[in-house]
Symmetry: D2
Subunit: 146 residues, 4 copies
């Protein structure tokens, strides 16, 4: 098992997730190497992240925000090949919350429990008027960490 | 050569296009059958259609429209397999303009000139306020048919 | 209601489907016009078609075919705008089976039952060795029409 | 300017690229937030990486490899919003070559020269028969670093 910079202890990390979604790998998401195209991992991460934020009441779909989270960076480690029609479960959690940004972690597992992808990415909370980073409200921090 | 409903005479039709764009087939646009995924054809059609409308001054990117074209339907005939890294030229033309809608035709060719895709689709001109079909301005009709 | 060439009687057609899958519209499947991008319809059609063929035992995932179905054409009518996070149900059926090809019909509905997309497309059954159209086995025809 | 872990000195890094491709942002690559969807960055990185490897004679399209590079991880920092129809230039270079893996860096710039994306990712060289990491041939190392 290679060392991944954002994972301290593998077993602790694996067991720290409580939210997940499951998606089947679509035929159009494969590529000519016969497996799920690497880009697809980030489609799943986005879907899982938004569903997670929605479940916490932090994703306003109607676009009427005073402030909203923007992706600052994203990364993914590809641990196992993934194939057409596999059912992949993407787990999401908030790993850290700062003043105006938060760190989201991702873990994707196969039906047999194998971890096939891990990832992380920062979101920055942006003021809708100034387009600058702004403090995450305490209420939002509380929801993210609960 | 199979009969395609929107093509009367093949040679006449083939020679009736004057606008085109060329795109390379991306690796992420292939699928596990080893060729370009069928969905990709519609990505190319959209890109070619918008570039065509832009070239005619009919695609307002800033979103400040009184009225704008909406896709009413789309179809594609797959005549030849397409593979990774092929350079595909997508030709676009206005086949017909009605009161509030127009019919766009598509033809995709390979570097050797072979036609690999044909297609068509109607656009309906929608009033931005009422969201109902509205008459295409005469100036726009003129540009489309010139 | 506009006339759609592949639908004879709307009510009869609507009630003729017995297989469907349901998918949520992903954020990455929207576009800057604020709705589901048109290309996405064909992603859903492909997923629904393959799940349908699999359910009938007619999609061999391992690639060991003597013959396999290839998409000959595809078309989609866009009846209603579709938005992020809507749950769309895509219904699929075999409308017709010929000697070496079959016609698949699609109908997508919203949670309130509104039909937002209709479509169709032919599949041609191709011999894996000769790459030419070949007769659809009687057993397969039977499964498709049951 | 935020600190990016894989960039030591910004100016030195920016000037270290010699290969690039330019792509227009497609309408289908935007999302309802009105900008290029984050996932699209990885589509561009893949296209640029493959074109780069091809230019060095290291991407065998026909699939007849003894060994081939597999993506081990990918990351992207989003420095500026990107919009429909912008022409984005993606620069690629080999930052480091180990025994069986290499580190690829990415930088995307706008037409005005602004850096809008940076990224990196490791490729592992895999033996086609054993599916295990294998030594990168000296000839390949030389080409990558020249």
């Amino acid at each position: 098992m290679k060392k991944i910079s954002y994972i301290d202890d593998w077993e602790t990390w694996k067991n720290s997730f409580s939210f997940s979604i499951t998606v089947p790998v679509r035929f159009s998401e494969t590529d000519m190497f016969g497996h799920m195209n690497n880009v697809t991992a980030f489609i799943y991460f986005e879907q899982a992240r938004i569903d997670y934020l929605k479940a916490k009441g932090l994703f306003a779909e109607d676009g009427n925000w005073d402030a909203f989270p923007v992706v600052a960076d994203l990364q993914c480690d590809f641990l196992q090949q993934i194939y057409f029609d596999e059912k992949i479960t993407i787990h999401v959690k908030t790993a850290d919350v700062g003043n105006s940004s938060l760190d989201i972690h991702y873990m994707a597992t196969k039906e047999n429990g194998d971890v096939c992808l891990t990832g992380r990415g920062a979101l920055v909370y942006i003021d809708a008027k100034t387009h600058k980073a702004t403090a995450i409200p305490e209420e939002m921090k509380r929801k993210l960490l609960e």
